[in-house]
């Protein structure tokens, strides 16, 4: 649970995205693309889920990438190499189904780019033709370009403000691609608004689409049901039934609202701790 390496992927004072390598030989051995860990920064802290971005079995490390949003991610950002987490457990959730689908489009939005990276790598190794679309609000939030380039046959970059790549949204590129050619799978991770839009487009083109959800969790082991989401009219738990689901079947509206349940407390506690 010791942090071995830390790197700030952004320098912007407004939004901070950080990469950490954490010593956990057992997790490094077991975690597969698509899975996540639950962690606590301190003994009074929250348990939060984070996707395992990479593993190194030889060094016994896992890599996490997080954007500072609430108190816990901000406290996590304060830790340095040599510090230890209070708790780290996993690998939770189902691993991504890795096989040769054929032609795959991966869509990553914001810090969601970190989550598509392990899946892109595994899908590439399984023989898929990988096309990647990366989107962010602005240039410096567009992370892992180099890493994803190395596993993609084609890669597109978009920013909301046009500061890098094309100005616009990931879905602009997605639609152009789907219009031109037939694809076998779309895999998307990003803000709910983005995944929802992706799901809307791919439904029209009848392309199977998998998304990885970022529902709020407590234990992340199936015990609390806080992360429940309506999938095809049925209640599913993101932690044990997911975190990946068929995008076409998700009740996005409920998920979006449920993820805002503690917004007030989050703001209050961040102010209180001056973070």
């Amino acid at each position: 649970m010791k942090i071995l390496k830390k790197k700030d992927l952004t320098v912007s004072s407004e939004v901070k995205i950080t990469r950490m390598e954490i010593l956990s030989p057992e997790l490094a051995k077991k975690a597969k693309p698509g899975q996540f860990v639950a962690l606590m920064v301190g003994k009074n802290g929250e348990r939060i889920p984070l996707t395992v971005v990479d593993t190194d079995k030889d060094k016994g490390t896992i890599t996490l990438i997080f954007q500072e949003a609430g108190l816990t991610t901000r406290l996590l950002g304060k830790l340095n190499p040599g510090d230890s987490l209070f708790a780290l457990t996993g690998p939770m959730g189902h691993a991504s189904e890795i096989k040769n689908y054929g032609k795959v489009i991966l869509v990553g939005g914001g810090v969601g780019i970190a989550e598509i990276y392990p899946v892109a790598k595994a899908l590439k190794a399984a023989g898929n033709h990988i096309v990647t679309i990366l989107g962010a609000r602005t240039k410096e939030l567009l992370i892992l370009e180099k890493e994803l380039k190395s596993v993609s046959s084609e890669i597109f970059m978009v920013t909301d403000d046009g500061s890098y790549g094309r100005k616009g949204f990931t879905t602009d590129i997605l639609e152009e691609l789907l219009k031109k050619e037939k694809y076998d799978l779309v895999y998307a991770v990003g803000p709910i608004s983005m995944m929802r839009k992706v799901a809307g487009f791919t439904k029209n083109y009848k392309v199977k689409t998998i998304v990885s959800l970022n529902a709020l969790m407590v234990d992340a082991t199936g015990m609390c049901g806080g992360c429940r989401v309506n999938v095809a009219g049925k209640t599913k738990f993101s932690c044990v039934d997911g975190p990946e689901f068929d995008a076409a079947l998700i009740d996005w509206d409920t998920l979006d609202k449920r993820n805002r349940v503690y917004q007030k407390q989050e703001k209050h506690i961040c102010n209180l701790y001056k973070l």
Partner: protein
């Protein structure tokens, strides 16, 4: 004149709802002596058969009357590893007390005349803790060579670990969460089971050389086969039940509708009642509705009401139950405590759905009135919704406390483990061995009543079977 039962001392309701401190204060020595002296010391005691683990109740109560509290403690310990815990959480009025000859006959639970066996057990248990009484460890040279893995650190896991460790067996407990104790930690609130009691018992096991490793989700980080290849001789599964059931009604996923597990875990395990010192939040409702009639529903209601009180709101928490008070499976004491604290009860009411606002938060609960029909499989009268009886209640926070199902994280990746239609692990009740050789199980993961004492009873059977198999 017949001696009157000794009422246990409790914190006053109006004061205790301002905090999460333990409500029942337990007997003083004088009170315990008086209560014990009411025991008739029956020639053929019926109470013992009422105890799921068969504690020699007659004997330990006699020992209390003789002021031999040490012997009383050890008498209980022959069958029950954690008397201080069971003395606090056992539903005694359905078990030993109901079987007491002094209890009025024909009632679904013990009347107040029955000896307060659980309070006497608590008294003896707390005496044992205060005086550091311990069962001597038998270091069997042969058994000391073995290593056993216990999965889960709830009542079953802790009991099994202690039993094995006292034989000199090396025990490693693998706990999924960051803190040990299972349901005793995340489920039962501190006002019902003081955390120093739980911590004492866990520390004590660690002194017996039991190693507890937190953050280990078995089935994810390790398979059962891997335990064997790492040199463990046997495995005990005390995983608990785990997954909360929901009602399956419209609007159940509105914000501020919690499972009891989530609500209680936020408050008890994550200490949300001490937010922002602790960082996990929980919402506080203006009009809270709890659905269910068991201990978990009482716990959730009393937590919700404390949260309201502690955040300066006027308490308004109601429990909805489909049957009537008499059928409620909760301990009678919890129902009484809930009432004293100002929880409202709506009997013969069944939820039919929820409505919410534009931000997705629950606003109202839709209900149906019920009547009781013939007896069902559980031996209780079946509630039947009355047509056209729909009504609504204000509800900006709801907690669903209608039970749990088995967590399948481990069983799904272990096809050798046979499960039943509820996904509970199938065991041989005589040994608690599963369909997988050298793997034993006990507690909620194998089904049953779901009480702490029953889980410990199963763990004790399993530990005996494990010891026997290793002694061969």
């Amino acid at each position: 004149m017949k001696k009157q039962p000794v009422r246990v001392r409790e914190k006053e309701a109006s004061k205790r709802i301002n905090n999460f401190d333990e409500v029942v204060l337990g007997y003083t020595e004088r009170e315990a002596l008086y209560e014990a002296s009411r025991c008739l010391q029956c020639k053929n005691p019926t109470c013992i058969a009422g105890c799921p683990v068969g504690i020699d109740i007659k004997k330990f109560i006699y020992e209390i009357t003789q002021k031999d509290y040490k012997s009383a403690y050890f008498t209980i310990r022959e069958k029950n590893d954690f008397p201080s815990i069971c003395g606090r959480v056992c539903p005694a009025e359905y078990q030993c007390r109901k079987a007491c000859v002094l209890a009025k006959k024909g009632l679904p639970f013990a009347s107040e005349e029955a000896i307060n066996i659980h309070f006497l057990e608590r008294f003896a248990g707390d005496y044992g803790i205060k005086n550091n009484l311990e069962i001597p460890v038998k270091k069997d040279a042969k058994l000391s060579k073995f290593k056993v893995a216990v999965v889960g650190s709830g009542p079953a896991g802790l009991c099994c670990a202690g039993e094995l460790a006292r034989q000199g067996i090396k025990v490693v407990v693998f706990e999924g969460l960051h803190a040990s104790g299972g349901v005793l930690r995340y489920g039962i609130p501190p006002f019902r089971l003081a955390r120093d009691i739980l911590d004492y018992e866990i520390n004590h096991l660690q002194k017996l050389n039991v190693e507890i490793i937190p953050n280990q989700i078995i089935g994810k980080i390790k398979t059962l086969d891997e335990f064997f290849s790492e040199g463990f001789s046997s495995i005990f599964l005390g995983l608990g039940a785990g997954v909360p059931s929901f009602l399956g009604v419209e609007g159940e996923n509105f914000c501020n509708i919690y499972s009891a597990n989530e609500f209680l875990t936020r408050i008890n395990l994550m200490s949300a009642y001490r937010f922002p010192e602790y960082h996990t939040p929980v919402n506080v409702g203006k009009h809270v509705v709890i659905v269910g009639g068991g201990n978990t529903a009482m716990d959730a209601a009393r937590c919700a009401l404390r949260m309201q009180k502690m955040s300066g709101r006027t308490p308004d928490t109601a429990i909805l139950y489909r049957r009537t008070e008499v059928e409620m499976p909760a301990r009678r004491l919890e129902i009484e405590h809930a009432k004293e604290e100002g929880i409202k009860f709506e009997f013969l009411v069944q939820p039919a759905g929820f409505t919410g606002d534009e931000r997705g938060f629950v606003k109202k609960i839709k209900c149906l009135k019920c009547r009781l029909a013939e007896l069902d499989n559980s031996g209780r009268r079946r509630p039947v919704p009355i047509e056209g009886s729909e009504f609504e209640m204000d509800c900006d926070l709801a907690v669903i406390a209608i039970g749990l199902q088995a967590n399948q994280v481990l069983t799904k990746v272990t096809p050798q483990l046979k499960t039943d239609k509820y996904f509970d692990v199938v065991v041989n009740p005589k040994t608690m061995e599963t369909s997988m050789a050298r793997v034993f199980a006990g507690g909620d993961i194998v089904g049953g009543e779901g009480t702490v004492i029953e889980a410990m009873g199963m763990a004790k059977i399993a530990s005996t079977a494990i010891i026997n198999s290793l002694s061969k």
